[in-house]
């Protein structure tokens, strides 16, 4: 494996030359000064080579196919990166006066409006930093709404058993309890169980549409009616919004609040784990509770051609701040550029083609791979990573074998309710040839599983490292490559 950057360090080497001190110097407070800063001492070229070589060990959308279900690994347009780096955005201080940030505020205000419009809602906040924080915002808003009406009995949130782990974790963070709902044989919410759970202690329900199984909930209107009927509010996890642009508006279906993942649906890059943006959109009832600050029009323009005056404001009954400042603005810029590029008609094409691609791959894999829910899918579908008569091969082995062909594995072992799940999401930006090549590899792997299963169980064979000893990582817990100074050890014994 590659040496760490510390391994390349040579005492006294300097990577960056800074200006000389051009002011009279002042005394430093002696009793508070540190005696050692253990950072690498390397040249610029060493740094450039180190990180360039590290990058080469990654798979990425720019390198090859990445059909990672529920993550929407679509192409991230380069123009959006350039836009976010314009000095007018990148060098704009977050506590600028509103007068001095009218361009940024106009962008945020417009994007809030677009996100509300796309999902059929009345308002939006761009503050949440990621989907999970959007969920927290949503559940806190639901809780605040009930509290505001003086209803404190509602302490439960209904969550289907196919949900992302963030859903139940969010409910707990908001101090509410989770009621898990079973799914029926079609992968839809079990309506009988749902109706039995609906009473006046239900604050709301969180549901992913289309579901994490990649199917449109057939009874979604019944689900919403049941929850509204008992006074609960409906939260839509918008992780799968890439299937719904211009296809259906969640707000029109009756949802009260949802979050977007701008890093999925609107193509801001995943960056190896973030940053994202989990913007939330809400109906009339919840707009006063939005997390802030949000961009508003402070003064309408006097003349039609003039711009209004924008400002940042906290909504009247806001659940509060979720972050310092006003959100991951760089992500807002990229999403704005993305939506501006596609426009209304283009966004519908995004979802139409995302669904077309998923169904095409599903159709070609049918018969060889088991489809637990054998029906038209949305933008992704779940299959089973196992073969009759080949007990030794699991979804994990198929995943690892795919790597040998330069393909990132699908999401595996999620959703939890499918045995040996492989969740496949091709996205709309992949062409037919790429999809065909993927299918061919999947079919080849299916043959290999029967003829030479060790090819799978010992895969991957050509990646920079083979399968890892994860138990050792957790047991020995090596989290840093440098020892701490002596004082740390003496203090630990105090």
């Amino acid at each position: 494996m590659t040496e760490t950057i510390y391994d390349k360090s040579v005492p006294g080497r300097v990577g960056v030359v800074l200006p000389k001190v051009d002011v009279p110097t002042s005394d430093l407070p002696g009793d508070l000064l540190r005696d050692n800063l253990d950072l690498p001492e390397v040249s610029e070229l060493q740094v450039v080579r180190h990180f360039t070589n590290l990058s080469g060990l990654n798979h990425a959308i720019d390198k090859g196919f990445y059909p990672l279900g529920s993550c929407t690994m679509k192409y991230n347009p380069k123009i959006n990166e350039d836009a976010a780096r314009l000095p007018g955005f990148a060098q704009l201080h977050p506590l600028s006066d509103d007068d001095g940030s009218q361009g940024a505020l106009a962008l945020m205000h417009t994007l809030q409006g677009w996100l509300a419009e796309i999902a059929g809602f009345k308002g939006a906040s761009l503050v949440p930093a990621a989907g999970a924080q959007g969920e927290l915002a949503g559940i806190l808003m639901i809780r605040a709404y009930h509290a505001d009406r003086g209803d404190s009995r509602r302490t439960k949130i209904l969550v289907p058993n196919s949900a992302h782990g963030t859903n139940p974790a969010t409910v707990s963070m908001a101090g509410l309890s989770v009621v898990e709902l079973p799914s029926d044989e079609n992968g839809d919410v079990d309506l009988i169980a749902l109706r039995a759970a609906c009473d006046d202690t239900v604050a709301g329900m969180m549901i992913t549409v289309p579901s994490t199984l990649g199917v449109f909930e057939e009874h979604i209107l019944d689900v919403i009616e049941a929850v509204h009927g008992c006074g609960g509010l409906m939260y839509m996890d918008g992780a799968n919004m890439n299937a719904l642009l211009g296809i259906v508006k969640p707000g029109e279906l009756g949802f009260d609040v949802m979050h977007y993942n701008l890093h999925k649906t609107f193509s801001t890059p995943h960056g190896g784990g973030g940053p994202g943006c989990g913007a939330v959109a809400v109906g009339e009832k919840l707009t006063p509770f939005l997390p802030g600050p949000i961009a508003v029009i402070a003064e309408e323009a006097e003349h039609e051609d003039d711009a209004p005056l924008y400002a940042l404001r906290m909504p009247a009954k806001s659940i509060g701040r979720l972050k310092a400042f006003q959100g991951n603005f760089g992500m807002h810029v990229r999403a704005y550029a993305y939506i501006r590029t596609y426009g209304a008609a283009g966004l519908r094409e995004v979802s139409r083609h995302a669904v077309l691609n998923a169904n095409y791959v599903r159709s070609r894999l049918r018969g060889v791979y088991t489809m637990p829910y054998d029906r038209i899918c949305a933008h992704e579908f779940v299959t089973e990573g196992r073969f009759e008569g080949v007990e030794s091969v699991h979804a994990l082995d198929i995943s690892k074998r795919l790597m040998d062909f330069g393909i990132h594995p699908p999401t595996n072992y999620f959703p939890l309710i499918v045995h040996e799940a492989l969740l496949i999401e091709p996205t709309e930006t992949e062409d037919k040839a790429t999809l065909d090549a993927f299918v061919d590899v999947m079919l080849q792997i299916a043959s290999e599983a029967k003829e030479n299963p060790t090819l799978l169980t010992e895969a991957p064979h050509v990646t920079p490292v083979g399968r890892l000893d994860e138990v050792r990582a957790a047991k020995e817990l090596v989290l840093c490559c440098r020892p701490l100074p002596d004082w740390a050890h003496t203090q630990a014994g105090d």
Partner: protein, 445 residues
């Protein structure tokens, strides 16, 4: 159509393979009366047109390319070496997902491991996670760790007045339904007075280093009192200051959190930044977020993998202590590259430039008629200036002279009307500082 590559012929072939005639046939499960709504959005545009529109929006802002910035208050204007941006744009980093599949993600994993190492070294802690959303949410997560450490028996959280107002607000948002008493930040207190609030119910005490007003306060005595009461001490630190000041770990902190924005991440109107989170080993199994550990592959080759995974929401679900999933990975990478490039000497030098320039500015402003500068305590690169007029008026004058002036403290601290928080970094030349002093003098008259 933009980034969708399909031709008509391919679409027809794909539909035939699926066994339907049109793409619309794939959406029959969507309730018919809500299917295919109109979207009231503008028409799509070419890249050329989008580019022009983005330029126009960007230029409608007063930014660091056109103005000298003397504003900090939690977001700092520093120089970032060109190599950081170039490396960050590599698609292999930029367009990768979370490294759940370690065989295809060793680049991201090793970079996180190096980030964890650098953060641990800077803060004087045993371990760091792969990041939180920002400094504010790192602090909110530290509160959760402290609650868990007391097995949710203790319910009191003491926050210093000197912690960024937004950070304190975020702690209150996160924990609004957890039945906590969050106190200590209603008024200015020295650390002795803050320690007097500690009782048997106290799970956590948090202070800032330097604090929101720029002051660098020794908290060793406070740490002893916190520990004597069986509570934990969390320090919110500015990593740039840590290049020259003693690590919080050495002064007795149990957890050190903060925002890594100063480490090579642009101001970008508030984000994306990176929340760092580091801890002594005692709490490492309680912290939220991703952690990368070293291990070996099946041939014995050194490799990296996300570890202690059973803490996380996708496995523990409603029993997880945090729902965090996506973090600020790419910004943590930016900080790692920045710290590597600046290195031991460069970062120390940058921090000293900030220190000396800020002290020069403070001394000159203190000598101006009508202005006074809070004195008596060590500070890093920010300081409080009492102005002879409302801050908005002073800043309007500075604006006309090509400067973004200090932060108006009256917005968050009613007792500090007419006080501004000024920040000076290595970006501000002596000429700029002299111009600032002159403009302040003019503005007073």
């Amino acid at each position: 159509m933009s980034y969708i590559p399909h031709t008509d012929v391919e679409r027809q072939q794909m539909l035939a393979a699926i066994g339907v005639t049109t793409i619309e046939d794939l959406f029959e499960a969507v309730p018919a009366r809500f299917r295919f709504p109109e979207l009231d959005l503008p028409e799509g545009m070419s890249e050329l047109e989008v580019s022009a529109e983005m330029q126009a929006l960007a230029e409608a802002n007063d930014h660091g390319g056109d103005f000298a910035i003397f504003r900090g208050a939690g977001a700092y204007h520093h120089y970032t070496p060109a190599a950081v941006g170039h490396l960050l744009l590599r698609g292999e980093f930029l367009t990768a997902y979370t490294p759940y599949q370690p065989e295809m993600s060793q680049g991201t994993l090793q970079a996180i491991f190096e980030y964890q190492t650098m953060i641990s070294q800077m803060t004087g802690m045993d371990a760091a996670n792969a990041s939180h959303y920002d400094g504010a949410t790192s602090l909110a997560e530290a509160v959760t760790v402290a609650l868990e450490a007391s097995r949710r028996a203790r319910k009191k959280i003491i926050l210093s007045y000197g912690i960024h107002p937004h950070y304190r607000a975020v702690v209150r948002t996160y924990h609004q339904w957890n039945g906590l008493t969050i106190t200590g930040d209603d008024a200015e207190r020295d650390y002795e007075a803050l320690a007097a609030l500690i009782d048997k119910d106290t799970a956590l005490v948090a202070v800032a280093y330097p604090d929101f007003f720029g002051r660098v306060r020794d908290f060793r005595a406070l740490a002893e009192k916190v520990h004597a009461a069986g509570a934990l001490l969390c320090v919110v630190a500015n990593p740039m200051a840590l290049a020259i000041f003693k690590s919080p770990g050495q002064l007795g902190a149990d957890m050190v959190v903060g925002d890594g924005q100063a480490l090579g991440i642009p101001l970008s109107y508030g984000g994306p930044y990176v929340g760092f989170f580091s801890t002594k080993l005692a709490q490492v199994r309680r912290i939220a977020g991703r952690i990368v550990g070293e291990t070996v592959d099946k041939t014995g080759k050194k490799a990296y993998v996300m570890t202690l995974r059973p803490r996380e929401q996708d496995i523990r679900r409603e029993r997880a202590t945090s729902n965090i999933c996506t973090n600020q990975g790419l910004m943590a990478l930016a900080a790692t590259i920045y710290m590597s490039l600046m290195g031991k000497q460069g970062l120390t030098q940058a921090a000293k430039l900030c220190y000396h320039k800020a002290h020069y500015a403070a001394a000159r402003i203190a000598a101006l008629e009508g202005y006074s500068v809070a004195a008596g305590e060590p500070f890093f690169h920010e300081f409080v200036v009492k102005c002879p007029k409302p801050v908005a008026e002073i800043n309007a004058a500075l604006y006309d002279a090509g400067m973004i002036g200090g932060y108006d403290l009256g917005k968050d601290y009613p007792a500090l009307q007419d006080h501004m928080l000024l920040c000076v970094t290595e970006m501000n030349s002596k000429d700029e500082i002299d111009t600032l002093v002159h403009a302040l003098e003019e503005a007073a008259s």
